[in-house]
């Protein structure tokens, strides 16, 4: 599904044929599929309206109007029948039920990045709240929206919450001014607190390993700390230095192949084909010899939210690899071997990394850096794939298909689907 302005276009994944076309009242800011893929919600924040469309019944429609309360965020509940709207100024979260048309309110939600977290199995929902300058966590049962537990979080200013994949532990971490991560069990008991250091900027991002064994914490000091689930103590630290000296690390460097067009044959205005071939230079990966020094950027010290530290963390689905990005070295993706707890591969790109995502089925990482190439890495090797488009296609983000056979590459205005062929066994 994709939206264009105020239209929602639903395509088939395999053929990209338009299946449905819906028109909304206003420009759509956010769309989300329901968990059973039957409905799509389209949120229009400006108007404060959420419209829901059904795939099965194209005539079915639903509109939720928040009115003067405004709308800041909207999302599905895991059962696909409830929509949670966050009103403006985070006054409240309204839970609209599609089944019963009932409304529930959650008061005092916390205005933070990840204030709502659902467990993987969709049974419970944790909501971060703030009352009287104190943080609280409420755990709701998603089936009937009953408050299960309500406890206070010992954080100064809660920044985010995330459930472990096993649904039993909730990680709560503090604002970046304090390095503090709290681990609560499902029933609200504080299991452990972890604090790496004081004073400096703290946690930037966290990631649970798919088996819930490890919790990777990326911080502003360019390090990733891994906690284990038994003792919740740090097992190891991953450093991201600008110089890689370990001989066992493979460094793939993206190298541009020289364009085939000679400069003499340039004509003005350039033809389209010429332009595309000019701008889309081929590139390939070269293995750089260790030691390698990467491009290190020191951010301006007096600005807020500096571009430093570990900004992106992702575990591979088989729990073997961890991909990280150090914002100080924006062109590199670091892949760590979780079994050996060592740095495995570094991918050095020509441009800054925009996003990366693991294939949901296998340890395959797709990276996009804002140019028209998508980069794939797997333990077998890495490859740079040119998107065969005319004109500019700057991939800003990508998204894998759940089967791992294809992925959607998104640029600002367009998107394309990349199909990956499976090897015939």
């Amino acid at each position: 599904a994709s939206c264009v302005q105020y239209r929602l276009v639903v395509r088939d994944v395999n053929t990209l044929q338009i299946l449905q076309l819906y028109t909304c009242l206003d420009q759509i800011q956010y769309i989300e599929w329901s968990s059973d893929s039957l409905f799509i919600l389209c949120a229009m924040y400006k108007r404060g309206i959420v419209q829901v469309w059904s795939l099965e019944q194209p005539d079915w429609h639903c509109k939720i109007d928040e009115g003067s309360a405004g709308l800041v965020a909207s999302c599905w509940s895991p059962d696909g029948r409830h929509i949670l709207n966050t009103t403006e100024f985070h006054l409240r979260i309204t839970v609209w039920s599609l089944c019963t048309k009932s409304v529930s309110y959650i008061k005092y939600p916390k205005a933070c990045q990840q204030g709502i977290a659902f467990t993987k199995d969709g049974r419970y929902m944790a909501v971060a709240e703030r009352r009287d300058c104190k943080d609280f966590i409420s755990i709701f049962v998603c089936s009937d929206w009953q408050l299960l537990r309500h406890f206070d979080a010992e954080t100064q200013d809660l920044f985010g919450i995330e459930w472990a994949p096993n649904g039993c532990v909730l990680a709560v971490w503090d604002t970046c001014l304090e390095y503090k991560i709290l681990l609560y069990s499902l029933d609200g008991r504080l299991l452990s607190t972890y604090r790496a250091y004081e004073w400096s900027l703290g946690i930037k991002s966290i990631a649970w390993s798919p088996s819930s064994q490890f919790l990777a914490i990326g911080s502003y000091d360019e390090k990733v700390r891994i906690l284990n689930h038994v003792t919740w103590k740090k097992i190891t630290e991953f450093e991201h230095p600008a110089t890689i000296a370990n001989t066992k690390t493979i460094v793939y460097k993206e190298v541009e192949k020289s364009p085939s067009v000679e400069t003499e044959r340039l004509s003005f205005p350039p033809t389209r084909a010429l332009a595309s071939s000019l701008f889309s230079t081929q590139s390939k990966y070269d293995i750089s010899q260790v030691p390698v020094s990467l491009q290190y950027i020191k951010p301006v010290a007096d600005r807020a939210n500096p571009k430093m530290g570990i900004g992106m963390l992702a575990f591979s689905p088989d729990n073997c690899f961890l991909a990280t990005k150090n914002d100080n070295i924006p062109n590199a993706v670091w892949i760590w071997d979780v079994q050996k707890l060592k740095l495995f591969v570094v991918l050095e790109q020509l441009c800054a990394i925009q996003s990366f995502q693991w294939d949901p089925r296998q340890p395959r990482l797709a990276v996009c850096t804002g140019n028209s190439k998508v980069y794939l890495w797997s333990p077998a090797g890495c490859v740079s794939v040119q998107v065969p488009m005319e004109g500019d296609f700057q991939i800003v983000s990508l998204s894998w298909h759940s089967s791992g056979d294809s992925m959607a590459l998104l640029s600002k205005d367009n998107f394309c689907v990349c199909y990956l062929e499976r090897e015939e066994v």
Binding site: F39, W60, K63, G67, S97, K101, S143
Partner: protein
């Protein structure tokens, strides 16, 4: 720029021979005349040997002296020239100046040392202070940060409270408005995902929810526990295996009775327990005491095994080295001893070589001495030979002389004899004459003419004697050597006297005498 250095200064002038050879002098390069700043580098005496000739050579003695004089006078020292303003140098003043310069140099050195000490002290103080300062700075900054953090928190809380108030107001307004727009339009209700009907919220449901939650938690814990159990079981299995293998590796006999006797019953108990633990089903138990026992027993066994293995290693290494070559069976200590011995030997050999070299050198030197001695000896011999030759010569000469003298003596003796004969004949004749004359004396007065004739005849006699002596040489020669020398000399004297005497009488009767003498001789 003037530099202070110790120089060897040559004798400045011919009339100042008493000046010490080594003095501290100002070494100035002739073109630079500034002597304002006195730098104090460390004196480097021996390296300046080459420089003194650069400053003052034989050609520019006068210039250098005058230059020095100028410099010293500018420094306030008295002039080194004598008051006569001539080329003469005032020795006393020079010495005084030098002494003053020495004293100055000492003072300056001391001052320099003090300054350096102070500098070092200050440097170390600085370092210390800097460290302290850095630490203090860090503490200060931390304090500042903490105070700022609290202030910030306070401010944030205040703002939040305000914000909350606003939100509440807004919320009230929103709620009160009862906007009809806040509604949900649904075409038709959507069935629940799981097909069930929605349930009311009741206490039952609450309880059920709690139950559910705990179930979830419990299931998670159970799962984890299962995993841990599996892990534990595996590890225990591994440990058991290890223990069995360790026990099997260890030699079966009781190696250390001492330990056994010390621990005694405890170990035996342990052994029993170990035996119990070795049973298959023991690893299923997981109570603490059993666990501890297991780990302790394994540790002990492991230690024993380690010692055993170390011993074996040593033995093996020895055996290996023994198998290769008997000479190589040297333990480390022996090897070290051997190496020491070898080193000593090497040293001794070296010393011997050195001494031999020395001796060789001496020998090389001594052949030169032998030559000289030989030469000397030769010289001596030559000298002696020459002396001997000279003496020989002398001896020969003397011999010749003696022979000559002897000859002359013999001749003289012959002459003397002859003359004596002649004289006797003359005497006889004279007596006869006298007798005759006495008879005839009264006839002639021949005495008057006889002295002159006597004299004259004496000469003739002499000549004649000589000639007769010459004639009588061989006879004299024969008779000469028979007579001894003192006899010769006495004869000589007597000869002389007799010759003298004989002259007189001989003169009287010359021809006759001769004839008579001849006759006497032949007779």
């Amino acid at each position: 720029m003037g530099d202070w250095k110790t120089l060897t200064v040559p004798v400045l002038s011919s009339d100042s021979k008493n000046i010490f050879q080594y003095t501290s002098e100002k070494k100035v390069s002739p073109p630079s005349m500034n002597s304002q700043v006195l730098r104090l580098p460390l004196p480097s005496s021996k390296s300046m040997h080459s420089f003194f000739s650069a400053f003052c050579t034989e050609e520019n003695i006068e210039q250098s002296i005058s230059y020095l004089n100028r410099e010293l006078t500018t420094l306030g020292f008295p002039s080194i020239y004598a008051e006569s303003k001539g080329k003469e140098l005032n020795l006393i003043s020079i010495i005084n100046c030098m002494n003053e310069l020495l004293v100055l140099q000492h003072k300056n050195l001391r001052a320099q040392e003090e300054v350096e000490m102070q500098h070092l002290k200050l440097g170390s103080d600085m370092d210390h202070l800097q460290n302290c300062y850095a630490k203090l700075k860090v503490q200060k900054l931390q304090n500042i940060i903490s105070s700022r953090a609290t202030q910030y928190n306070h401010d944030m809380k205040r703002k939040e409270r305000e914000y909350n108030k606003l939100k509440e107001r807004l919320h009230q307004l929103v709620m009160n408005k009862k906007d009809k727009k806040i509604a949900m339009e649904v075409l038709n209700y959507v069935g629940r995902a799981d097909g069930k009907r929605g349930a009311w919220r009741t206490d039952k449901t609450e309880a059920r929810n709690e139950e559910e939650m705990y179930k979830v938690l419990l299931s998670d814990y159970e799962q984890r526990q299962k995993q841990l159990l599996v892990e534990n079981a595996e590890l225990k299995k591994v440990l058991q295996q290890m223990k069995k293998e360790i026990i099997s590796l260890l030699p079966p006999q009781k190696q250390k009775p001492k330990e056994r006797s010390e621990d005694g019953p405890v170990l035996s108990d342990l052994e029993e327990d170990i035996g119990e633990l070795n049973k298959e089903n023991m690893w299923e138990l997981s109570c603490e005491t059993v666990r501890e026992q297991l780990t302790n027993s394994i540790r002990k066994q492991w230690r024993m095994l380690k010692n055993h293995v170390e011993k074996l290693d040593n033995q093996v290494s020895r055996v290996h080295s023994g198998a290769l070559n008997e000479k190589d069976v040297i333990s480390r200590e022996d090897h070290e001893l051997e190496t020491e011995k070898l080193e000593l030997e090497i040293q001794q050999c070296k010393e011997m070589i050195k001494t031999q070299q020395q001796l060789l050198q001496q020998q090389l030197m001594s052949p030169c001495d032998d030559d000289t001695t030989l030469l000397l000896q030769d010289c001596y011999l030559l000298e002696e030979r020459e002396r001997l030759q000279e003496e020989w010569r002398l001896f020969r000469e003397q011999k010749k002389n003696f022979e000559k003298e002897r000859r002359s003596f013999t001749e003289a003796a012959i002459r003397l004899g002859l003359e004596r004969k002649a004289f006797e004949e003359d005497r006889g004749a004279w007596l006869k004459q006298q007798f005759l004359s006495m008879c005839t004396d009264y006839k002639h007065s021949e005495n008057v003419t006889t002295p002159s004739a006597f004299l004259g005849s004496s000469d003739q006699d002499n000549r004649l004697v000589k000639s007769t002596s010459q004639q009588r040489k061989p006879h004299c020669m024969l008779s000469g050597p028979v007579s001894a020398e003192p006899c010769q000399t006495s004869q000589h004297i007597t000869c002389n006297s007799s010759s003298a005497a004989s002259k007189k009488p001989a003169g009287d009767s010359k021809p006759n005498q001769w004839v008579e003498s001849d006759k006497e001789e032949t007779e």
